[in-house]
């Protein structure tokens, strides 16, 4: 028996984490994400889990990574300023292949910006924000139900690919309330265990090493330094560094067909909207209001790794329109993959594009 509730997006995110088996939350209060921490603070102790309010976001993500190495599913939730503070340790999680989930309820930036208004301004930061080359996984929910579903999915992807996974939500889906169905049980994809005789950082065929949690007797050494397959620092060998970084990127990018999650409408269309998160809903409204216009729509639930192959579904496309709650961050990525013009339709300030605004853009660029 699943249960149906009328719930806030942030609460649904926390419920998704709990359903996925998350048993450690380390965080620091920040608007507009705090309801997630508050819900976890109430729920985790009842489930034998740990909630801790750390001294800052640097400590939050550090504690989450530490907890993850004991084998538990662990997460944090934050917003822009806290996300910026987490960047160094996010790189550490990438380098040490630590599965964990980072929820960013995006708000208007730069800096303190608009604490209570929505934005999608951290879409490139979640991909490129820490120093060095790497790849991560990022999901973008457009409804309260997806706040639940995609949080569950983020845990599974994080464990499957040994990588930090981001739920790149925003104040709109974080704070709105909608009906949500919470199933009794969700699918859990476990971390692949380290097999005896295997090295803890040997990626094998798919580039994903087995996981040796602390206390399991493998005496694994985990370091953010460039390391060999044993996990031992090897910082001067150019070949070792090249091999490691290529594997960290390759294990994600080569799996992007499996990780991809998107919806396509009107693949024959000449004018195609590409969206993720709440702007998707304005486009869906437009499609609903103008059913005979043959407007194309690619709605991404997984934003990173970017599924460039989904763009080629639109064989007749003449122009791609991208309403985003930023100045055109993902439009850059789309333009990288297509010859047709990609038109960013930026919206700043916290409100969603209205259907009228997108209709106007449609008329201007089709």
């Amino acid at each position: 028996m699943s249960r149906v509730e009328f719930m806030q997006g942030n609460t649904a995110c926390a419920e998704g984490a709990l359903a996925a088996g998350c048993r450690f939350f380390g965080g620091y209060p920040i608007t507009p994400s705090t309801e997630i921490a508050e819900h976890m603070a109430r729920a985790l102790p009842k489930r034998g889990g740990v909630f801790i309010s750390m001294e800052d976001e640097l400590g939050s993500i550090a504690a989450v990574i530490g907890a993850a190495w004991t084998g538990v599913r662990a997460m944090t939730a934050t917003s822009g300023p806290g996300f910026s503070l987490m960047m160094e340790n996010i790189g550490f999680a990438v380098m040490t292949e630590t599965p964990c989930v980072i929820v960013n309820i995006q708000r208007g930036g730069p800096s303190t910006g608009q604490p209570t208004r929505a934005a999608q301004g951290d879409m490139l930061q979640c991909r490129f924000g820490s120093h060095g080359d790497y790849s991560t996984i990022a999901l973008s929910p457009a409804s309260v139900q997806e706040m639940f579903d995609l949080t569950v999915k983020a845990f599974n992807l994080a464990d499957r690919y040994r990588v930090p996974a981001f739920v790149m939500a925003d104040e709109i889906v974080g704070h709105m309330r909608e009906r949500v169905t919470i199933p009794d049980a969700v699918e859990i994809v476990p971390r692949r265990k380290l097999e005896p005789g295997q090295l803890p950082f040997d990626g094998g065929e798919d580039g994903i090493p087995g996981f040796a949690q602390f206390g399991s007797g493998y005496a694994v050494h985990v370091t953010g330094l460039t390391h060999d397959e044993r996990g031992y620092p090897d910082t001067m060998d150019a070949e070792a560094h090249d091999r490691l970084v290529r594997r960290l990127i390759g294990k994600i990018e080569s799996a992007r067909f499996d990780i991809a999650d998107y919806e396509v409408e009107n693949p024959d269309a000449e004018t195609v909207f590409v969206t993720y998160g709440p702007p998707s809903r304005t486009v869906l409204q437009l499609l609903h209001d103008m059913p005979d216009e043959g407007i194309g729509h690619l709605r991404l639930r997984v934003v990173w790794p970017f599924p460039e192959f989904a763009l080629s579904v639109f064989a007749n496309a003449k122009v791609f329109l991208m309403p985003e709650l930023n100045m055109g961050q993902m439009a850059r990525e789309v333009q990288r993959h297509v010859d047709q013009p990609v038109i960013p339709i930026p919206k700043l300030g916290g409100d969603l594009h209205t259907p009228a605004e997108l209709k106007q853009a449609l008329e201007a660029y089709r």
Binding site: F6, H175, M176, R281, T282, L352
Partner: protein, 179 residues
């Protein structure tokens, strides 16, 4: 049909809770769809607070309120900030003891706070009186649905008081509004 409801008053009146209750009634007990949003500004603390609900028989795609057709206004500041520009064919329910302005659109005076104080003995349930009047007037959700949603949203031990407040709202709405 898509209905957009906007509620405003001052912090502490239970404006946001009212919006949530309305959304719950539609989404959980009327088999409709609902999206509830609210303003999260610092002004919500003591200043004008505002909550909104979209209710539809169809899935709600665009989730923001653009031009509400139903208003519940429980403070003068709330009227000035969130009610004064109501379109002419909108319906506005006004807590007549607290708001002295009147809109250009159709409206009805509901002395909710006064009723809550004098008849029910607790000012705190004025918002529930308003919801009752809203449902009686607009039928935006069913009476059964709103009854259930009120009962599962209010603190334990206050169910009877709130049920009474809701009933009082039904009566006031029916009597005061000849729309």
């Amino acid at each position: 049909m898509r209905r957009e409801v906007r509620l405003s008053g001052f912090g502490g009146q239970g404006i946001i809770l009212s919006a949530v209750i309305l959304g719950r009634a539609a989404a959980l007990y009327d088999d409709k769809y609902a999206v509830q949003t609210q303003v999260y500004g610092p002004e919500a603390r003591g200043g004008a607070s505002m909550g909104q609900v979209i209710i539809d028989d169809q899935p709600i795609l665009y989730p923001e309120v653009t031009d509400p057709d139903i208003y519940v206004i429980m403070s003068q500041q709330g009227f000035e900030k969130y009610g004064v520009r109501a379109r002419e064919d909108a319906i506005m329910l006004i807590d007549s003891g607290l708001v002295h302005s009147r809109p250009r659109c159709r409206y009805c005076d509901i002395p909710a706070t006064e009723e809550a104080k004098s008849v029910l003995g607790r000012e705190i349930v004025a918002n529930i009186v308003m919801i009752g009047a809203l449902v009686a007037t607009t039928g935006v959700v069913s009476r059964t649905a709103i009854e259930k949603a009120v009962l599962d949203s209010v603190p334990k031990g206050t169910e009877e008081l709130n049920a009474k407040a809701l009933q009082r709202g039904f009566d006031l709405g029916k009597r005061a509004c000849n729309l």
